[in-house]
């Protein structure tokens, strides 16, 4: 399978008054056709900014993003339109992302007509019905003429998904797409997304702060963990959760409470050296995790920015002590 999206050393900075904030710093990531990748991290780690750059809502400050092998910043008009249709975004808040004055039919039919996918009212109705069925809003006739306020959060989010599917995308960025949906129905929404991925060969970049959810959704795919603008670990989903390598991933996993009173009370916690999250305005030198890192090893961590290094087992980690240990193990 070919690569659908490829980020090469992508950096994005923002100017706030006279200060510069590096929201995304030297991120390289390749997503194959039909693959699911989850980006996980705390707020301010740059995961949403990364997603926005991929859909073209934000330009990069440096580095390149390629869609199907072509650099998006250099695409000519016709190709650029192809990219814009091919890469779509599902937003976090289904209460804000649907026009309250339009019916479900209006919302979904608009892009169909605008991009000339259907001609005439009858064809549009037929296609909208198909799409509603695809996102499990059945029977579709119950939903066609409803307004967003008449739908539940989960149903609205399904409408957002149907709207995205109108233009036959090959890649979807879903930014915290289920975090505002009731807990009891999150899984069914994710199951719908998984079904679509399988039926239509969609690739998905799923952005979330919930590692358990990421593991569930990415199951066969990969999870990338971001910290202060950089990807610190990238590995197959289950491997990342079951055998985390980067100290930050390990700390995160040990801090998450679990829905099992025995497990969660007995869980071994890894202590941080410091609770303070560094300001993006004054990032620490070297590895930006070093002031908090439980595996801090001195000078190298303080001074040299660790690069993401790929290992044979399919994982990639940006950490000096981990890399050193891997090299030592190999030499033995």
């Amino acid at each position: 399978m070919g690569d659908i999206i490829r980020l090469d050393h992508v950096t994005r900075t923002f100017q706030i008054k006279r200060q510069t904030i590096k929201a995304v710093d030297d991120v390289s990531l390749t997503i194959r056709e039909g693959e699911i990748v989850c980006l996980v991290g705390e707020s301010g780690c740059g995961k949403t900014t990364t997603g926005k750059m991929i859909v073209g809502a934000l330009p990069t400050s440096s580095g390149t993003i390629c869609y199907a092998g072509q650099e998006i910043a250099k695409l000519a008009q016709a190709d650029f339109k192809k990219y814009r249709l091919g890469v779509q975004m599902i937003h976090q808040d289904p209460y804000a992302s649907l026009n309250p004055a339009h019916t479900v039919y209006d919302i979904i039919a608009a892009p169909l007509a605008h991009h000339g996918f259907v001609k005439g009212e009858t064809a549009a109705r037929r296609r909208v019905r198909e799409l509603l069925e695809l996102v499990d809003l059945t029977p579709p006739d119950d939903f066609l003429d409803k307004f967003p306020h008449q739908l539940s959060g989960g149903q609205r989010q399904r409408v957002s998904v149907a709207r995205v599917l109108t233009v036959n995308p090959s890649f979807i960025v879903a930014d915290e797409a289920v975090s505002m949906v009731d807990v009891s129905i999150r899984i069914s929404l994710l199951k719908t997304l998984t079904k679509l991925k399988e039926q239509m060969g969609l690739a998905v970049l799923f952005i979330t702060h919930d590692l358990a959810l990421a593991k569930y959704f990415a199951w066969e795919g990969r999870i990338g963990v971001m910290y202060l603008g950089r990807i610190v670990e990238l590995a197959p989903a289950r491997q990342l959760v079951e055998d985390p390598q980067h100290p930050y991933t390990q700390v995160l996993l040990s801090a998450i409470p679990e829905a099992d009173p025995d497990a969660t009370r007995r869980k071994k916690r890894i202590e941080l050296r410091s609770m303070d999250v560094p300001s993006l305005l004054r990032l620490p030198t070297g590895c930006s995790f070093h002031p908090r890192c439980p595996r801090f090893e001195g000078e190298q961590c303080e001074q040299v920015v660790p690069q993401l290094v790929e290992f044979n087992d399919g994982s990639a980690v940006a950490c000096h002590p981990v890399l050193r240990k891997r090299v030592a193990d190999k030499a033995r």
Binding site: G154, Q155, L189, A212, Y216, E258, M275, V277
Partner: protein
């Protein structure tokens, strides 16, 4: 020993343009001394309304239709307070001195133009508590208890602190007048994982060092698993199951509790185990007949549609409101296999 808080047959309604929102319907529960009770449920289930009702801070569109709330202070000056009968000054004294509430959004709960020191002084003044050096010493000790550096925080404005620090300031502030009951409304929602962990550790430590009861409102099951002694599941304004934390997570009998626990992905869980509850939460203005969960319940039969089940004892300390609780676990398992 008598419970710190006894809520009996409480019903709360909101007036809305479309009709009356039945946010809390005939809810009864006790909070024992030193106990942590978690109220879990989805958004709109009425759990926050319940919390606000206990401290009588409901918005003006809400009214308490019936029921009673009794608070019992133990130790020095033992007394029993009928919370719904309180008016003006005694009510203000009850809030914070007896029962403090930590709100969901810590940023909005602190006055943005007052330094942290002034927030503490304000609270102390309003309740005729100690002032001057004594107040400063007590406040700073509390700040240390919640793992904040008083030097750094004392003269700061709220906007100079991070979300997690503000939340901890609020927790310290809630403890200032030594209340015996603290209500935490989604204390860690909107906080990052590591900050959330820190707050949870602080709460656990406080509970071992100080003597207070806790009502803990959350939609996050895992927080309840970690912090609570007892858990009550709230659905459509009613407690549908209540038990000790082990029972709720290991031997729950209400189909909604079972469904909720099966719907939350865990780090260890296998993929197949997860299933959503079909449908969506009901409209509180136009509630279904009978059991309010029946439109979403796989085990619904005619009785469920006709008549609403009340809480009954499964064992002592474990109550459930479901006609089919005896067989629910087995039947649902069979249902999944199909």
């Amino acid at each position: 020993m008598q419970p710190t808080l006894s809520v009996k047959n409480l019903s709360i309604e909101y007036r809305a343009r479309r009709g009356r929102v039945q946010a809390i319907r005939n809810v009864s529960f006790d909070v024992q001394r030193g106990e942590a009770l978690a109220l879990i449920g989805e958004s709109g289930s009425g759990k926050t309304t319940l919390g606000l009702g206990v401290v009588r801070l409901l918005p003006s569109a809400a009214s308490i239709r019936e029921g009673s709330i009794v608070y019992r202070r133990s130790g020095n000056g033992q007394s029993e307070i009928d919370v719904l009968g309180l008016k003006s000054d005694p009510l203000r004294q009850f809030r914070w001195k007896e029962c403090a509430m930590v709100f969901q959004s810590a940023l909005n709960a602190l006055n943005p133009v007052l330094r942290i020191s002034e927030q503490f002084a304000d609270t102390a003044r309003a309740h005729g508590y100690v002032r001057g050096a004594a107040l400063e010493e007590r406040s700073q000790n509390l700040l240390k208890l919640v793992r904040l550096d008083p030097e750094r925080v004392w003269k700061s404005f709220p906007h100079e602190l991070s979300g997690g620090m503000r939340q901890r300031v609020l927790i310290a502030l809630s403890l200032l007048l030594e209340p015996q009951l603290i209500i935490l409304d989604e204390p860690t929602t909107a906080l990052d994982i590591l900050t959330q962990r820190n707050i949870m550790d602080v709460l656990k430590e406080l509970r071992t060092k100080l003597d207070f009861s806790l009502i803990f409102i959350s939609h996050d099951l895992s927080l309840a698993a970690e912090l609570a002694d007892r858990v009550a599941t709230v659905y459509a304004g009613k407690i549908v199951e209540s038990a000790d934390v082990q029972t709720i997570f290991k031997a729950q009998t209400h189909p909604y509790t079972i469904g909720l626990i099966n719907a939350v992905p865990t780090l260890k869980g296998a993929k197949e185990d997860l299933t959503s509850i079909p449908g969506s939460p009901p409209d509180l203005i136009d509630l279904p007949t009978g059991c309010k969960f029946h439109p979403r319940c796989p085990l619904t039969e005619s009785r469920c549609v006709e008549q609403e089940p009340e809480l009954e004892d499964v064992t002592s300390g474990h109550q459930v409101a479901c006609w089919n609780w005896r067989t629910a676990r087995e039947s649902l398992k069979a249902f999944e296999v199909k």
